[in-house]
Amino acid sequence: MNDAMVQHLIGLSSDMAIMSLLALSAYLLLLVGRVSFGQQAFFGLGAYASGILSAMFHAPLLLALGFGMMFGALCSWLLAMPTMTLSGLHYAVATLAFGEMARIVLSGWQWQVSSPDGPVGPAGIEGFRDIRWLLEHDITPAHFLGLTLAILALVLVVLMRTERTRLGVALRMTGQDDTLAATQGIDVSQVRLFAAAVAGALAALGGGLYAHRTTYIEPALFDPMLGVHAVGYALLGGLGTALGPLVGVMFDLGLLDATHLFSGWRMVVFGGLLALFLRWRPRGLLDEQLVHWLSQTLKWKVRA
């Protein structure tokens, strides 16, 4: 393998890890029975928030990412307050409207501070350039990939541990039948608000990582296509486990996009396959049944 290829692989893996975070945020909301077409907004808001902190105020990367996460969680929670009581379809449309509103506000927003290399900051539709924290601190793409993967692994561990807790059960119960869950004493709206806040934080975390990886962001990047892809990945990979969204991302970005299989006809093939696939497996590849079967089989193997 030559050097260019290694660099390409490192970049691709970072992209896949970042996209996985966004897909996980869509997954969390799908788990509580809501489709959001607005997760790209929190991705974008997180990217802007953490970029502002590191590029304009020279904060360390982890602090900037943490700030972006908090900001994303806050915005998502505020959005969920009035919208979570809506029915599923109305919620989906409301999040779509919110996502577009956020994008338009970002494309009209100017706030720059001077620096030795000229003004830095969000410049409306021109975007936000020079988020150069990684370059200034000599962090190579490989190191950044390590950081991203570590964050993703941490998120996955937390999510998969939660599955076994009362909270995890409450999340799934809310998603499968909210009336029944409410009769079992689960505060359905609180569970959904919580899921929305965490989903916003995850999307914003992905956005923060994305902003630092590419050093340049613009509002047009955060269009509904991004958010809808995230939902698509989560549904394709499966809602049975937090690993599902990763499978979806790997299939699309890793297999179809990266190998240039079908080149110009990629979406024709992927779209048709996805629709056909969902016809027979409405909860994705790794759905609850398969996950259950797998875990039973593995347990049996270990015992034998």
Binding site: T83, S87, F98, E100, M101, W265, A275
Partner: protein, 308 residues
């Protein structure tokens, strides 16, 4: 004062186009209780086929119009078979809230129609890769002078057509036998099936007819611009969705009022805040209508109102 009046008139005329786009979307929702995300892409691929015919065969405008409408119908049929046919089989709930919660099937219909959206859009772009594509133009450049107001006659004609079509369709669905059976099968699938209605076929035909309307809307709107771009699919879906949502998704007459309101708000916002303000206002309007406190009573009203 005249300026304001002019803005209102322009807005209402634009609103006619939005109503026309939203009509098919609302009809689909009225019968299936499912949102067809591939709606805009269906209209776009059909329009691209028309534009391709126009560019390569120098087809006359009427032939392009027929092509667009027929193509939209066929594509709609394909979308229905792939994304919606199976998802309604177990939608056994009686008339309840106009929108069921995000049950698994609803999510799947959203996701798979989105996947088909991507597919159709890519097909269209592969057919005509350029960003701007010529479309037969029926625009009239001469303005009508009505007192101090200026009115574009072609746009005016489109708005009148949209209003007539919407009101006519609503009346037809209310009065005719076909309309009655369509409403009955939308209302309660099982009951309609028990009294001998071909529910499956009614829904397929209704879906394809709604897509034919999208083709008609696409042709009428694009022929005023004389061009078609890859942005059209997204534009049609979003404007149609806002118009249909404002009027109460599923209601046929409501689309007209929703479209007019959207056009009016956009026109006023554009005059006050420019192009970005226009975009923002349409989404803000949608958002406010969705989360407004008077929704509860409206939903109860819709739950008891017949679609149509």
């Amino acid at each position: 004062m005249t300026d304001l009046l002019q803005l209102v008139v322009d807005g209402l005329i634009d609103g006619g186009a939005y109503a026309l786009i939203g009509l098919g979307l609302s009809l689909t929702f009225g019968s299936l209780r499912r949102l067809n995300l591939a709606y805009g892409a269906t209209a776009m691929l059909a329009a691209y086929l028309g534009a391709w015919l126009y560019a390569t065969q120098q087809a006359p405008a009427w032939l392009v119009a027929v092509t667009v409408i027929v193509a939209a119908t066929l594509i709609g049929w394909y979308v229905e078979r792939l994304c919606f046919a199976c998802t309604t089989q177990d939608a056994t709930q009686a008339r309840g809230a106009p929108v069921a919660g995000a049950d698994g099937r609803e999510v799947v219909a959203l996701a798979s129609s989105f996947a088909i959206w991507m597919q159709l859009e890519q097909l269209a772009v592969n057919l005509l890769p350029r960003h701007l594509n010529a479309f037969p133009s029926l625009a009239v450049s001469q303005d009508w002078q009505l007192g101090e107001l200026m009115v574009r006659p072609d746009r005016m004609g489109l708005a009148v057509m949209a209003a007539a079509l919407t009101l006519g369709l609503a009346a037809w669905l209310e009065r005719s036998r076909i309309g009655l059976s369509w409403r009955a099968s939308a209302d309660h699938r099982i009951a309609a099936h028990l009294v001998g209605m071909p529910v499956e076929r009614l829904q397929t035909v209704g879906f394809a007819a709604a897509c034919a309307l999208s083709g008609l809307a696409a042709f009428s709107i694009l022929s005023l611009d004389g061009q078609v771009t890859p942005m059209f699919g997204m534009w049609a879906l979003l404007k149609g969705l806002v118009a249909a949502m404002l009027g109460g998704l599923g209601s046929v007459r409501g689309v007209l009022w929703g479209g007019l309101l959207l056009g009016l708000v956009e026109s006023l916002a554009q005059a006050s805040f420019g192009a970005q303000g226009r975009e923002f206002a349409s989404y803000a309007l949608l958002f406010v209508v969705l989360v407004a406190p008077w929704r509860r009573s409206r939903e109860r009203f819709l739950a008891t109102a017949v679609p149509g």
